[in-house]
């Protein structure tokens, strides 16, 4: 034996030692086996495969977290970008208004100039001067007419600011130079065609400068005062009163104007400071890009089992018969809330939270012969009672049902090949929590909009009940024992499934906020609802989804 257990010979030694190894078990073991075979196995429920595994849960959870993080990041940066875009648009608009403010004279000045021979360079200003606005004592310059003047005005203002703050000047000299530059630049800017410069006398120009400073107070909001430092000797007037007093600030874009501070150029060192100091004053206009809604859908549903012949037990095999027609049908109802985020002009991302309930019924037939009785003979305790096993596999689930039949006439003779057809009616109720993830494409005009939506729905099973509601037998020589019906089966369904969904519908907008949606939709399973390796279950649903949306 020592040689046998050497390194290379251990395996052979073991094989030879156990080659014909036999030992007798205890004498009473057969009785235990016999009792085990006689143990009531009815209804024997066969769960072909385990349901959702721990590993699957973790993969699903990780995928959900990844998608959630991705969606959050996308929306977060999308909103940031939109906000910045709005600010830039506001800034551009405000720049236009600033140009208008910089050339608007005061009421006093205008009244003194009503009879003066003022000839603005551009047709826009000339038309405006000729209009009733001047005769009413105010100077209104519509934005749309001032475009051609803006480039020149911008240059003028640039020069105005730069010339007003020459470097290395004392405060007094600086102020004097500032006023002088203002006079020159304003005169040059508003009378570029060489109109008599003495049309505006010294006092008028002084008032113009004062008015320019007053405008700072008029349009500077409380927060902005800390930035622009209004003149110390000037009383701060309530904003509302200031607006009423300053009629010269009428423009066609009053909303934008109210959002903007005036140019406090007497305290600013460079044009760049104007831009950055004004940013906090901008109130971005928010687009309505989020939509919440409630909806409900009713879908006709059909579930069909396609069996893999190579994996499925032979229908003619001993003792068991399998019904191959496995379709179940019924209705699926959805109800829930939806959340929609507009991503682009025509595209939106849609998600939400649905409660989903399906009620499916089925009728299944299976053919037996009398010889297919369990144990090949009558049931225990009675010569005229017979047990059968019925392998029921359908779109709702799979189970082995054991049932008992009685002979209607105990004196009759029944051959082994006597045909017996059983019919089982089933009812299945399932409830799910469903989370759709879909992309939506929308086009439309006015109140009507066409929507095309496609995506997936993750379904989490929360309830499953499968019942044999009726079991009947076609052969008049037999009758089903009442207690054989109504057996329930365990939950053979996956805890997490995935459906694909497509819908095409219309949306009617009552106003900018509320709308009504009606969309026909179809759904089908992307994952099997059951984890069976011998059958594939196909679910198909179609119906109508109705919803009510609120945009904000």
């Amino acid at each position: 034996m020592d040689e046998n257990i050497q390194k290379d010979g251990l395996e052979d030694f073991l094989k030879k030692s156990f080659e014909d190894f036999e030992r007798n078990p205890s004498d009473g073991l057969w009785d235990k086996i016999d009792a085990g075979l006689n143990a009531p196995a009815a209804p024997k429920i066969v769960q072909m495969h385990p349901g959702l595994t721990f590993k699957t849960w973790w993969i699903g959870l990780a995928a959900a977290l990844f998608l959630g993080a991705f969606a959050w990041q996308y929306f977060y940066f999308q909103e940031k970008i939109e906000g910045l875009s709005e600010k830039v648009a506001q800034q551009n608009q405000r720049s236009k208004n600033d140009e208008i403010n910089s050339i608007q004279p005061s009421d006093d000045l205008k009244s003194e100039n009503q009879n003066a021979a003022v000839e603005p360079k551009s047709d826009a200003i000339q038309n405006n001067a000729d209009s009733k606005n001047l005769t009413n004592g105010t100077l209104e310059i519509p934005i749309q007419n001032i475009e051609s003047q803006q480039v020149e005005n911008k240059n003028a203002r640039q020069n105005l600011v730069e010339n007003s703050f020459p470097k290395n000047e004392s405060g007094q000299q600086k102020s004097k130079n500032q006023q002088q530059n203002l006079k020159e630049n304003f005169t040059k800017n508003t009378h570029p065609n060489g109109v008599e410069p003495n049309v505006l006398n010294e006092n008028q120009i002084e008032k113009l400068i004062e008015n320019s400073n007053q405008n700072v107070a008029v349009e500077t909001q409380p927060e902005a005062q800390n930035v622009f430092f209004p003149p110390e000797n000037e009383e701060q007037k309530p904003i509302e009163n200031q607006k009423q007093e300053d009629k010269s600030l009428k423009t066609n874009n009053l909303v934008a104007l109210n959002l903007l501070p005036s140019l406090g150029f007497s305290k600013l060192d460079s044009p760049q400071e104007i831009f950055f100091s004004q940013l906090p004053m901008v109130k971005p206009l928010r687009q309505k890009s989020w939509t919440v809604g409630v909806h409900a859908a009713k879908l006709a549903t059909r579930a069909t089992a396609e069996f893999q012949p190579q994996r499925f037990p032979d229908p003619k095999d001993h003792g068991k018969r399998v019904a191959q027609d496995k379709a179940v049908s019924g209705n699926t109802v959805f109800a829930g809330v939806s959340l929609e985020k507009k991503l682009a002009k025509n595209w939106s991302f849609v998600s939400g939270f649905d409660f989903r309930e399906a009620n499916l019924t089925g009728m299944h037939k299976a053919e037996f012969e009398f010889r297919d009785r369990k144990n090949g003979g009558p049931g225990p305790g009675h010569d005229h009672e017979h047990d059968f096993n019925y392998n029921l596999n359908n779109g709702g689930g799979s189970a082995t049902i054991e049932f008992r039949v009685d002979e209607t006439d105990p004196t009759q003779h029944i051959d082994d090949d006597e045909k017996i057809e059983f019919e089982a009616k089933t009812q299945q109720k399932t409830q799910w929590i469903s989370v759709p993830l879909a992309a939506k494409f929308s086009v439309g005009r006015g109140r009507w909009q066409f929507n095309l939506k496609g995506g997936v729905a993750a379904n989490f099973l929360i309830f499953n009940d499968f019942t044999i509601t009726d079991l009947s037998i076609s052969n008049p020589k037999f009758k089903i024992e009442p207690q054989s019906s109504g057996q329930k089966m365990p939950d053979p369904l996956q805890k997490l499934t995935l459906d694909g969904l497509v819908s095409a519908g219309i949306e009617y907008r009552f106003n900018k906020t509320f709308s009504l949606v009606a969309e026909p939709m179809v759904m089908t399973n992307l994952m099997d609802y059951q984890n069976l390796d011998f059958a594939k279950i196909n679910n198909f649903m179609y119906g109508m989804n109705l919803g009510f949306n609120y945009r904000f």
Binding site: D2, R23, P25, S26, L37
Partner: protein, 184 residues
Amino acid sequence: MEPAATQISEIIAASVVGDRRAQRWLYEHFKSKMFGVCLRYADHRHEAEDLLQEGFIKVFRDLHQFRGAGSFEGWMRRVIVNNALQFIKKKKNALQMTDIENVSWQIGEEDAPMIEEEDITDTLLRLMHKMPTGFRTVLNLYILEGFSHAQIASELGISEGTSKSQLNRAKACLRGLLEKNLTR
């Protein structure tokens, strides 16, 4: 006297439809061989009898799945082994990685009679019972059942590398057990 193949087929067919006499015949005919298999996987005789009982019940319930493609004994042996593996996998930490250091090398007085006085296979069996379950299972499957490491990995839910390392340790363990106990 061994029954003819046709006789076996008839007995199997009768067993499939629940003929208890036929089933009893099959049990009596194969119980010794199958009990020997169970003894190799179980920790002790009582556990082996439980495995045999459960195994035969499964054999009779699944008998309709036997297609006659191979030998009936081979098919029955596979059912018995699968049942034993399921039992082992249910045992907590039965298949956890074990090192040789954890093995109790000496057969105690209470374990068995002296080696010289018993059949060598019984001695081997008792030494295998001294091995950790993981060692014994891999040794059984690879050497005595002829499984590949890939099959073992699949059956036990471990990696092929683990199967190989467990086998090497099991063989070293058994070699050590034999050397130490042969000198008594």
